[in-house]
């Protein structure tokens, strides 16, 4: 930390807790000491609809925090994880009707006269103690298969991006519900007074953005208090919106202005007695502290070379997936409950082999590095890492199929995600799919089950973490979801 800044922070505390002439009142003191102003520790009763505070905390939490690596656009399970060597002779043969069984498909391929099978062009090899099959696209992730639980039977009902990503993030295909991170912020609050409980990171691909859209609702608070919405930590401009003082205003001027502001607000409090004023005084102090804590968070100059190297060369370019993975670890270290890293451009309807190679080249090393990094710091035990997208991709080709290239349409009926760390059994593979990676044949894992299990790892009963809105007790998993015991450590 900047030494000048540090001195000022100490001064601030002295100002409020000791020196303050006239005293700032015990209520303000208490609220300043309360580390949970950002997103209350637990639902505060003043929130309309907040439910009984403790009843949803039913289990001892294994995970204190979550890092969710979200692959927006839907990566192909067939080319990365769900190994189907038996498909080779099926090249360019039609998917048997008995497999599809009349299931609905998107209107992008429903007009195709044929559904020719496109076996993956990528080689798979066995890795780890259990000989887990992993695609050649993921040489680094292959090295951590013993640390992760591969979930091959994840499924959803949504067949298009907007409803599907809204569904997995909020439990409903329609806008309006709180996101998973917001639920966690609401239920568990923040562990760090100076940072939000829920942070969102957007990753560039080859220096730019593009691909399937994301929506503010994916990290929104829905009907929960807006303080639970995810705060984007940006790689350009202010990392947190409006963080920097305006040009020409020195830190000392800001400090002086805030001191006088607090004094004036306090005078007003004494005149009108509104406790909101006390709370606002505290919020300004926290804003001031964020001005220091956020730049310190994003400054990776203190990271050892070995750590930086493990994430790959992109790590030094802010906004890359590698840089965001490292930031996610730094956020986790600082007690941020829920960090979600988004990377787009997985929507490979055509030219899949080339595009997926590029995407895997971007994510493979940082994913593995993150898990290893957490492990080395002893943080993997209480940090839940989740990887994956909103649905899977079809075994049949969209567009023209050749020996070298093919495209795959959206496939909701089975796809692969992985989880690691806090509360998850490492080194396992859960769920099975048929020979065409089309239907689940064993241990289906619906996205509601996934969300239920995530909350379970955090010590939260997904059926009891509710919020009453418009007469109904809502929860992340709607009226569904079962904790998947078999993947729990």
């Amino acid at each position: 930390m900047n030494p000048l800044r540090e001195a000022q922070l100490v001064e601030t505390r002295r100002h409020f807790f000791g020196r303050a002439a006239g005293g700032i009142g015990t209520a303000a003191l208490a609220s300043l000491l309360n580390p949970n102003l950002f997103g209350a520790t637990a639902p505060s009763t003043e929130e309309l609809g907040a439910q009984d505070l403790e009843r949803y905390k039913k289990f001892a939490p294994k995970a204190k925090r979550v890092i969710y690596l979200f692959m927006s656009g839907a990566p192909s399970q067939l080319d990365m994880w769900d190994y189907k060597p038996q498909l080779e002779p099926w090249f360019d043969k039609d998917l048997p009707d008995s497999v599809r069984n009349g299931q609905r498909i998107t209107t992008m391929t429903s007009g195709q006269t044929r559904f020719p099978i496109a076996p993956s062009t990528f080689k798979f090899n066995r890795h780890g103690k259990n000989g887990t099959w992993v695609s050649e696209l993921l040489p680094h992730t292959a090295k951590i298969v013993d640390d992760i639980a591969l979930l091959k039977s994840v499924n959803t009902e949504a067949i298009n991006h907007d409803p599907a990503i809204t569904y997995i993030q909020t439990g409903s295909q329609l806008p309006g519900r709180p996101s998973a991170g917001a639920w966690v912020s609401y239920g568990l609050g923040s562990m760090n007074a100076n940072l939000p409980a829920f942070v969102v990171l957007h990753s560039t691909v080859n220096g730019g953005f593009g691909g399937q859209a994301l929506y503010a609702r994916l990290w929104g608070a829905g009907f929960l208090s807006t303080k639970h919405q995810g705060v984007s930590l940006r790689s350009n401009g202010d990392p947190v919106l409006y963080l920097s003082n305006p040009d020409g205003m020195s830190e000392s001027m800001r400090r002086r202005m805030l001191d006088e502001l607090a004094k004036l607000n306090h005078q007003r409090y004494q005149d009108v007695g509104d406790p909101e004023i006390q709370a606002r005084i505290a919020q300004y102090e926290m804003a001031y502290r964020m001005q220091t804590s956020v730049p310190e968070l994003t400054d990776i100059s203190g990271e050892p070379d070995s750590v930086l190297e493990s994430y790959g060369s992109d790590v030094k370019t802010p906004g890359t997936f590698a840089a965001n993975c490292l930031l996610a670890r730094r956020l986790a270290e600082r007690g941020v409950r829920f960090t979600q890293v988004f990377i787009r451009q997985w929507d490979q309807h055509g030219n899949l082999p080339n595009d997926i190679r590029r995407q895997c080249g971007i994510i493979d090393q940082p994913c593995a590095a993150l898990v290893n990094d957490l492990k080395q710091r002893g943080m993997l035990d209480d940090t839940l890492v989740i990887w994956g997208g909103e649905f899977g991709r079809t075994v049949y080709c969209q567009g023209k199929l050749t020996q070298d290239t093919y495209g795959r349409d959206h496939h909701p009926r089975c796809y692969t995600k992985w989880m690691a760390g806090g509360g998850i059994k490492p080194g396992i593979s859960y769920g099975e799919t048929d020979d065409f990676s089309y239907n689940v044949t064993k241990d289906p894992l619906h996205i509601h089950d996934l969300n239920a299990t995530i909350l379970h790892c955090l010590g939260v009963d997904h059926e009891r973490l509710t919020y009453r809105h418009q007469g109904r007790d809502f929860r992340l998993t709607d009226v569904h979801g079962h904790v998947v015991d078999k993947i729990l450590a």
Partner: protein, 1032 residues
């Protein structure tokens, strides 16, 4: 005159905490208030109106069912005999298998609640309806023996409950507080210093009332009221789903503003929005009003299934309409009978049916105006259009007259056109075309000019991978006509032969490739216009002309080629001039023959011909229909024949000008999305679990009659639905509406759950008052301004909002209103207030939405690559300073300074906003350029208008934004801070300059820099005061 008599506090905590329900128990238990919520919350999940999930055959929402003998032989409830009622045993059972509600439900019933149920059973277990579903009854206005000042009946109700709670109202707030409160509440902007002075100077008894009347007449009133309504209407400027492209529906927004300003009665306001299109001969405005139910989010995501979205849109409209007018959470019934309220799934789909038969398409096409939409010209535009239309008609008549005067005979009618000459035009040779921007693998260095084999050429030796030099941006592009061929010359080194060479043309897109040799991946195996295989690599060691037909690589007639890329994989190649081979124009003597011209055009199609004319030309002579030949002749004589054409020239030019003026005008006339009914209604069905694929019984449009009977003679469409909603005997609409208005001024509704008046909603804090207000509202002819005036005139509203520790403890949320309303201002008001006091606010009403300052890089990281709201382009000038309700609302990335202060995302209907207090809000006020700039401009006003001394100026600043003068303490604090800032800036004048550079509005250069900066720090401080963002 309105100050209440001071009453000493004689309050005892024990008394007060027991207040709500346990007061004197002489009255019988009130089923609706005390029992129904208990049953609903704890039992209805399994024993309520939803038949499909009912357990053990027990139904507790209706008396007749609740008292029957159950399969077990028990009776859940025996009226008058709590001992025989098994419900009480089950509620108190120690056996976890027997206990109700089941332990794993997480629900518990307290001993006090069990005692209440027991008492109710013993009192006869009288069922009643839920209060909100019973029509409001005219209550007796209480006559509390109180000397407290009562301005109108509202106070009588409020005072009665204060009296029984042994609370005393506050005295009337001082005039400065009052004018700020009421001005913010009715216009969303603070009063000006002049308005404050006028009010202070007015000693008459009507001074306050005059202020209220003035505010209700202000145009700002309509804007402010509309903003609240637009939250409910989920109004925004983008579609919301997937691409989230722009949509134009702001004329609807402006309609809402006008409706409030014209004080349109709420019943008409309702009917026009829900069914304006179905009124007899609807006016333009009435059709614009139907935008209400076109504000919902829509999609055009590739792969989506239409049927699914027709259902989703209709569901959204039912939910929104139910929430806004009835406070009913009907959405639950989309999947099953409502668990708590008596609305059945069938009734839901009957409502759904009203909204299921629109002419809109499921896919919005990502266009600005997905149909149906209508043009909404202003009066000036309408007049201008009709003038232009008339003039155009006149000019066309003139053209016809000229045409009739021509006597043309084709002297060469029988002749056949000979071989056409072709014309070779060099596009560039040695030097590139004007404007060409050179680029390549090594940037501009990719272009190496040498002399080779007798020519000046560009040489390139390539690695095995893609290697190219190219240019784009030629100012005089090659315009493609039918049959054109493009060519270029190449000389391949015999000792270093490329594997592949390729030409690639740019007409805005680079998807036009022709290659010789191996396919090296551009097209991923495609062999089509974007990647055309031409054959083997040409012969080496000599100049070769590479020629490709324009249409074979997808360059259609009319395409304008502005760039060319020379690509090679390996080898050394010399590249020389490029050009185009076109067919030569027809000589004038032949052009004068209608027959020859037709033959010429048959061989050479050009993009410039009107489609209709081209179509005639394409039709064989003997197959042409009546009139086609004469049409063609007319065209030929007007535009082609060198002898007859000059007679038309001036008139046609005039026609062209008029047409383009009309086109410009038409483009300038805004349009907006509206509702329109299909001619053939779409059949609605009950959808099992709400799944669009699981159609069950057919249903027709019909209102839930248990709420209110259908209106006699009303049509069975949306109009009938709207008329039913505003029928005087409808128990919900008026209550729900007045409750929202109450919430607007007092912070919380009389029913706290403004969006839920159902059984699970909160019981009203003042049920009689709510009924009285609702009936009064209907009685007044749904007079909205009148209603707000009544609220604002009440002494309840006018009380001081100071908070005493006692009242805070007894009534922290101020539900009993023993003090005036006090809460944080809405996001929009906070910004608008800063704009207003700084003098930046541009007071224009309506118009298209604007894009004021927003931090860079918010849209790109989330937007779909092809979205037209991917790049945020900030507006300039006046558009930076419009009221916040005009800020462009991109749903998937709404303006952050607004959402940080709890503005909703506008994806779904919202009838009440959260009011949080967070550090991110502090950061907005501390650092957003909008507020820094406003502080600078406010400082200019303070220095110029605020007087000469620091004290006078500080007082001016306080009065401008807080409507009051600073206290001595405050003045001293601010003054000393001013001195410190002055000292700082004097020591660092360059910092002062930087600080004053915020924002795009010009600075008054007359003002001394350091002083201006120091005062800007003071106004910045004032903007950050808690009081500034609070209505008190």
């Amino acid at each position: 005159m309105l100050s209440p008599k001071a009453t000493p506090y004689f309050l005892h905590c024990c008394l007060l905490t027991a207040l709500p329900l346990l007061a004197a128990r002489a009255e019988p238990v009130d089923f609706s208030k005390e029992i129904l919520p208990l049953l609903s919350d704890n039992c209805f999940g399994c024993h309520g109106p939803d038949a499909s999930n009912r357990k053990a055959g027990l139904q507790l929402d209706k008396q007749a069912q609740a008292i029957v003998k159950l399969k077990s032989g028990n009776h859940a409830i025996v009226p008058g005999e709590s001992g025989a009622s098994s419900i009480l045993e089950r509620l108190q059972s120690t056996d976890s298998d027997e206990l109700m509600p089941p332990p794993d439900s997480g629900k518990t019933v307290s001993p006090e609640e069990i005692a209440r149920i027991k008492r109710w059973i013993d009192e006869g277990a009288e069922w009643g309806g839920h209060w909100a579903f019973e029509a409001p009854k005219q209550p007796v206005v209480p006559k509390t023996p109180s000397s407290w000042n009562q301005a109108n009946q509202i106070d009588a109700f409020i005072h009665e409950s204060l009296h029984s709670a042994q609370l005393t109202p506050e005295r009337e707030a001082d005039k400065e507080t009052l004018i700020r409160r009421v001005t913010l509440d009715l216009t969303g902007l603070p009063p000006t210093v002049e308005e404050i002075d006028a009010f202070l100077a007015d000693d008459s008894g009507q001074a306050y009332e005059h202020v209220v009347d003035r505010l209700l007449r202000s145009k700002k009133y309509g804007e402010h009221m509309a903003r609240h309504w637009l939250d409910a209407a989920r109004y925004a400027d983008t579609h919301g789903l997937h691409l989230d492209n722009e949509r134009t529906i702001w004329p609807y927004r402006d309609w809402v503003i006008d409706a409030f300003n014209n004080n349109q009665p709420f019943d008409e306001f309702t009917v026009e929005q829900l069914a304006g299109d179905l009124l007899p001969e609807p006016s333009l405005e009435q059709r614009v009003a139907t935008g209400f139910n076109r504000c919902n989010v829509t999609t055009s995501e590739g792969g989506s299934i239409d049927e699914e979205y027709y259902v989703r849109y209709a569901v959204d409209r039912v939910e929104t309409t139910s929430t806004v007018w009835m406070g009913l959470t009907s959405g639950c019934a989309a999947c099953h009978d409502h668990k708590f309220d008596p609305i059945s799934q069938k009734e839901f789909y009957q409502l759904f049916s009203y909204f299921y038969s629109l002419t809109e398409k499921a896919m919005d096409g990502n266009v600005n105006l997905p149909p149906p939409s209508i043009k909404v010209p202003t009066a000036t535009q309408a007049a201008e259009k009709s003038a232009l239309d008339q003039e155009l008609k006149d000019v066309r008549n003139k053209v016809t007259a000229i045409y009739k005067s021509i006597d043309y005979k084709d002297a060469r009618a029988g002749e056949t056109l000979g071989e056409l000459a072709s014309k070779d035009t060099v596009w560039f040779d040695d030097a590139l075309p004007k404007g060409a921007k050179r680029d390549g693998n090594e940037g501009i260095d990719s272009w190496k000019s040498v002399n080779h084999a007798g020519r000046k050429a560009f040489v390139r030796t390539a690695s095995e991978s893609l290697s190219q030099h190219f240019f784009t941006g030629a100012k005089e592009p090659l315009e493609i006509s039918q049959g054109d061929k493009l060519y270029t010359y190449v000389f391949l080194d015999p000792n270093n032969r490329p594997k592949t060479i390729q030409l690639q043309f740019n007409d805005g897109s680079w998807e036009h490739r022709a290659y010789w040799g191996a396919d090296r991946g551009h097209g991923n195996g495609r062999n089509n216009a974007s990647n055309l295989k031409m054959g083997r690599v040409p012969k080496t060691g000599e100049w070769i002309r590479l020629e490709v037909a324009a249409d074979a690589i997808g360059l259609k007639p009319g395409a304008k080629v502005n760039g060319l890329a020379f690509t090679q994989f390996g080898g050394t190649a010399y590249w020389d001039k490029a050009g185009i081979v076109t067919i030569a124009p027809l000589p004038e003597d032949q052009l004068a023959s209608f027959a020859l011209w037709q033959q010429y055009r048959a061989k050479t199609k050009v993009p410039t011909l009107p489609k209709e004319i081209q179509k005639i030309l394409d039709t064989k002579h003997d197959e042409r229909k009546d009139g086609q030949t004469s049409k063609l002749t007319e065209y030929y004589l007007k535009h082609i024949n060198p002898k007859t054409k000059p007679a038309f020239d001036d008139t046609l030019k005039r026609e062209g000008k008029l047409k383009s003026s009309l086109e410009t005008l038409n483009k300038a006339i805004p349009a907006t999305l509206v509702m329109e009914e299909r001619k053939e209604p779409r059949q609605a069905h009950i959808l099992e679990r709400g799944e669009y694929t699981l159609k069950r019984d057919k249903v027709e449009s019909r209102v839930p009659e248990w709420i209110a009977p259908p209106v006699e003679g009303a049509p069975k469409n949306r109009l009938g639905l709207a008329q039913w909603l505003v029928a005087p005997n409808h128990p919900l609409t008026a209550r729900v509406t007045v409750n929202r208005y109450w919430q607007q001024l007092f912070g919380t509704g009389l029913v706290k759950t403004a969006g839920d008046f159902g059984v699970q909603g909160e019981h009203p804090s003042h049920p009689e008052l709510l009924d009285w207000l609702a009936l009064e509202f209907i009685e007044s002819g749904w007079n909205v301004k009148g209603f707000f005036k009544m609220l604002a005139m009440s002494s309840t509203y006018r009380q001081s909002s100071r908070v005493t520790p006692e009242k805070l403890e007894i009534d922290p949320e101020n539900r009993l209103l023993a003090r005036g309303p006090r809460f944080r201002l809405d996001a929009e008001i906070i910004r608008d207030q800063a704009l207003a006091v700084s003098g930046l606010l541009v007071e224009k009403t309506g118009g298209s939405s604007v894009k004021p300052y927003q931090p860079a890089g918010l849209w790109k990281p989330v937007a779909f690559g092809g979205s037209n709201t991917q790049a945020f382009v900030q507006d300039k000038g006046d558009k930076l300073y419009r009221r916040s309700m005009y800020t462009f609302w991109k749903r998937t990335s709404p303006p952050p300074a607004m959402t940080t202060f709890d503005a909703p995302d506008r994806e779904t209907c919202q009838v009440s906003r959260a009011r949080t207090n967070t550090p991110l809000q502090a950061l907005v006020l501390m650092n957003d350029v909008q507020f820094i700039e406003a502080a600078r401009k406010f400082a200019e006003r303070v220095m110029k208008e605020g007087g000469q001394t620091a004290d006078e100026r500080i007082a001016f600043a306080y009065r401008a934004i807080l409507s009051r003068r600073p206290t001595d303490n405050e003045r001293a604090t601010v003054r000393s801070l001013l001195q410190e800032h002055l000292k700082d800036f004097k020591a660092h004048p360059e910092e002062a300059k930087k600080f004053l550079a915020a924002g795009e509005s010009p600075r008054d250069e007359q003002l001394e820099v350091t002083e201006h900066a120091a005062w800007s720090m003071i106004t910045h401080l004032v903007f950050n005061l808690s009081e500034t963002v609070t209505k008190g």
